[in-house]
Amino acid sequence: MTRRVRLWILAVGGAGLAALLVAACLELPGFGGTSHPYGDRAVRASLARRTANTIASINFDQRAFDTLGEMSILFASVLGTVVLLRQTRDERRAKPEPAYVALPVRRYALIVLPVALLTGLYVIAHGQLSPGGGFQGGVVAATALHLLYLGADYRALERIRPVGLYEVGDALAASAYLVTGLAGLIGGAAFLANTLLPYGTFNTLSSGGTVPLLNAAIGMEVACAVVVLLARFLDQAVEIEQEGGT
């Protein structure tokens, strides 16, 4: 099939898809409408369980099983990346040369690193109160660690980042989520049901029953997953070389 024929097929298919999608859009309830039956019920359920952030309540309580699915996708894609990017037999490791980094940039990286880590933890810990949660905070904390690569050099990052430990942490966090769910079963309710812990006082750190626990598990899982992913990518891009080349 030549490029030209392919473009024609794309144009025809795209036009058909566009027509269907636009027709669908015209039938959707208008933007900004007042009818949100699911939303209203979710808000009521969240307030009944004293979780201030309704979105956290949906993610880790009302639809916790769905989040388990999302977490398994995350886990599987990290696993896939680790398998795909392992060092093969015809590759060797070359020591990367350190880059020159100007002093202000280096200082900035070293000052911001702890601030960013703290922000990540803050975002995770306040997940059930204010915007934030395990998914966002985990990424922020993991990105923070890589300031060492940006501001100093790759060797400095390697020293504080034993990848094996983070892989274990990833698996532990995933199983912690499962165990919290199973605990609901043992407690005589459904899997991942939020009946185990007292709901606490509205708008405090320990409110919401199992929501903070699952939130923390997801935070750890995401942080470890991102660190492992970036470790593999950095390995490939910076260190690993094909045999016989430079």
Binding site: A94, P96, E97, P98, A99, Y100, V101, A102, P104, V105, Y108, A109, V112, V115, A116, T119, V123, S130, P131, G132, Q136, V140, T143, L147, Y149, L150, G151, D153, Y154, V238
Partner: protein, 150 residues
């Protein structure tokens, strides 16, 4: 709409719109500067929106943007260092202007909000934003030199 959201709309339409144009066209040196400026203009807009909607908790996204936006620019400075070395960006005035805008917005919001816990968060955001943008533009202008495999 109130004054705060009108100001945010203006900053977004004018400032961020211009950076979208800047990042999509032109030589690499212009694109990286536009990327850095998009952070320093979008972050004050987020702060203005938080004030306009009267929701202190909306400051969190601005805080994260002030933290990670410059980090993103450092990523580009580090991994595009070889290309940037040949053709370093020279636009200090734009960077100063954008940082000044951020500082003014943070100060105005601090004055309006009065001294409390939210003001601490605002000040941290402002410091990270202004410092981060100046450092990131320094890194782009040769602060990180390329090495073959670094």
């Amino acid at each position: 709409m109130n004054g705060w959201t009108v100001a945010a709309t203006a900053a977004l339409a004018g400032g961020v719109g211009a950076t979208v144009w800047g990042v999509a066209t032109g030589p690499l040196r212009r694109r990286v500067v536009a990327q850095n400026l998009s952070t320093s203009l979008a972050c004050p807009s987020l702060l203005l929106l938080a004030q306009g909607y009267d929701r202190p908790s909306y400051v969190d996204p601005a805080l994260v943007l002030a933290l990670l936006g410059p980090v993103g620019t450092l990523v580009f400075a580090r991994l595009l260092a070889e290309d940037l070395e040949k053709d370093p960006p020279k636009a200090p005035w734009l960077t100063y202007a954008a940082s000044g805008f951020g500082a003014v917005v943070v100060l105005v919001l601090c004055v309006v909000g009065g001294p409390d816990r939210a003001m601490g968060k605002l000040l941290v955001t402002g410091a990270l934003l202004v410092g981060g943008n100046l450092i990131a533009s320094r890194a782009l202008a040769g602060g990180i030199a390329g090495s073959r495999h670094g």
